[in-house]
């Protein structure tokens, strides 16, 4: 970089050029340090603070330093624990549905779409993200509600007599919203994961007479496992944490950890909100650790060596 600048600035402007390049050389390391500092300041420290704040004493409008496990007691010995565990269950269901819908799409794109067109097809799945999530999720209401599109269509067809009310303001509604919002992630991660499957492997399977089920279990699944796990964790985390979905589509009992924390903040119970966040964080860290031990998540970034 320095030599380039020097070459350009011959004659009288030489000193200016040298100064510029020295300045650039001094600044260069900060290109890497700045994001690190940002992450420490706005990610690592607040995360640690979350844990600290969760044991503080609650005051009328904020909290004061102290040590009490009241917030945790409040969480573990109330309906909140049940709701939290339920939201884990329904997040898992969302992950499963996303996998069943999304992974075959990823395999299909890799296997059957010409290489030049593959990335364009995957790009199609990014398009929904061009619409704000609130609008996307809110648009589900007129579709799923009591006199919504689904119910009126089914009733007009004579398939049901009464509208199905469980479609929205319930766990079902939340799961539908989660699948809608997070399906692309399993398509992306599945698509990347399929990169670990060598080019001619399907033809080898044809040659060896490996049936479709066996091919999936013995070949595709082990090779794509790290990518599938990464995509699944992403969906699970969001299913647990994004308050927006149960807020718009959920109802009594159909909440997730994110919404429990949000509700605690609304009630000005900050230590409880912090405790919920800390519990969620711990759960997810444990999950990632287990996943890493099982699948070696670094493999996602090294498809073929």
């Amino acid at each position: 970089m320095a030599s380039l600048t020097n070459k350009r600035t011959d004659g009288g402007t030489l000193t200016v050029g040298t100064q510029t390049s020295q300045l650039l050389e001094m600044l260069a390391p900060w290109a890497f340090r700045a994001p690190l500092i940002f992450m420490v300041l706005f990610f690592a420290i607040p995360m640690a603070m979350t844990v600290v704040f969760s044991v503080f004493e609650r005051t009328m409008f904020w909290m004061e330093p102290g040590f009490t496990l009241f917030a945790y007691e409040n969480f573990f010995f109330s309906a909140r624990l049940v709701n939290f565990l339920n939201s884990m269950k329904y997040s898992l269901i969302s992950v499963a549905i996303c996998f069943v819908f999304g992974f075959p799409i990823a395999v299909f794109v890799r296997k059957s779409i010409p290489q030049v067109a593959q990335h364009r097809v995957v790009l199609l799945f990014i398009l929904p993200f061009m619409v704000s999530e609130i609008i996307r999720v809110f648009a589900l209401r007129p579709v799923l509600q009591r006199n919504g599109l689904v119910n009126t269509t089914l009733m007009d067809l004579g398939l049901i007599d009464e509208p199905i009310t469980a479609l929205i303001y319930s766990h079902t509604g939340v799961v539908i919203g989660e699948v809608l919002s997070f399906l692309p992630f399993i398509v992306f991660s599945g698509f990347l994961a399929m990169e670990a499957v060598p080019k001619f492997i399907f033809e080898v399977c044809d040659d060896l007479g490996v049936g479709p089920w066996r091919r999936f279990l013995d070949v595709i699944l082990p090779l794509a496992a790290p990518g599938i796990f990464a995509g699944s964790v992403f969906i699970f985390v969001n299913g647990l944490g994004v308050a927006l979905l149960p807020n718009i589509l959920g109802g009594a009992g159909a909440v997730n950890a994110g919404l429990i924390a949000t509700q605690a903040i609304t009630a000005l119970d900050f230590p409880l909100a912090m405790a919920v966040s800390a519990i969620m964080m711990t759960t997810l860290m444990a999950l990632l650790w287990i996943g890493h031990r099982l699948f070696d998540l670094t493999k996602i970034l090294t498809p073929l060596s």
Binding site: F200, E203, V204, L208, G209, L223, L304
Partner: protein, 366 residues
Amino acid sequence: MTDPTPPAVEVRNLSKHYGDFVALRDVNVTIAAGEYFVLLGPSGGGKTTLLRTIGGFHKPTKGEILLNGKSVGHLPPDKRPTTMVFQAYALFPHMTVTQNVGYGLKVAGLPKAKIAEKVDYALEQVGLSQFTHRKPHELSGGQQQRVQLARAIVLDRDILLLDEPLAALDAQLRKDMCLELKHLQEKVGITFIHVTHNQEEAMTVADRIALIASGDLVECGNARDIYRAPQKAFTASFVGENNLLRGKVTEANGSSVIVDVAGSKLTVDKRGLAVTDGQEVKLSIRSECVTLDRLNGSDAAADGMSIMGAFDESVYLGLTTSHLVHLPDGTEMVSRVIADSDDSLPDAGASVRLSWKPSDIRLHVN
């Protein structure tokens, strides 16, 4: 046919179209059992399509394929007596060498002890016995291809299809692997059909070679005949280093014809081809059969076995030296000699005479 064993492969009037694109056009070829057969040709010529159609990976548009005398048009790859070795990227990355080789047998439901025994034997055949517990990424390119070979021969199918098996290897390794392939084929005694665009590779391994270009089977014959006595002008241009001359027939009586090339009358054996006076024909002579002589002022006699040209330059290639000459009509000719003499070269543009033995020049008609 007196031979009681049917040919390993018999391809009859095979055509393969992809939309408007014709990948193969009316191909007929017969490959005997136990033969090492090479499909040679330029990239995109249809040789891989032919191999894959034999293997059952593509369905033919027209025509049929008989393997060991039985039509196999309807059979999937695993139900055919064939098995395929791919260019590269065809091993299961998460399985060890042993698991890779044994997987086909496991799928076929063989008992474990039997699988272990067969896998050991196959790995011994390809010289990989010490590497049984390695994963593919811990092996070199050549070793990976040997694992593929072992995985194929362990299945006991009697036709092995090799699709550019050495293309991903470097030049020296490719040479070594060529010989190993040849020896392996002699050892296991099954039919090998090998696709390549590399003529040296083809010459090293082949009993017989078929040239395939633009979807046509151009010529088929023994490796030696293809090199020394190509029937078609395309073969001459693709195999070896041939001089191709265009000319007009001036006299087509008797067993030889006289062809006018750039003003010189050349005599060439007719080889039973139907030619008439005035017809445009091609002649080929391998560059190593052409002798270059300096003209010392005297015009050489026009004997029908030589042609005049102007010297351009010499290219030193180590083992051989190529002398480049151009004829009066602009055609390039090459004389290649195994000589490392320090004799001074003719000046650029000097008149030289190129001559050859009567048996070295060949006539081709389209």
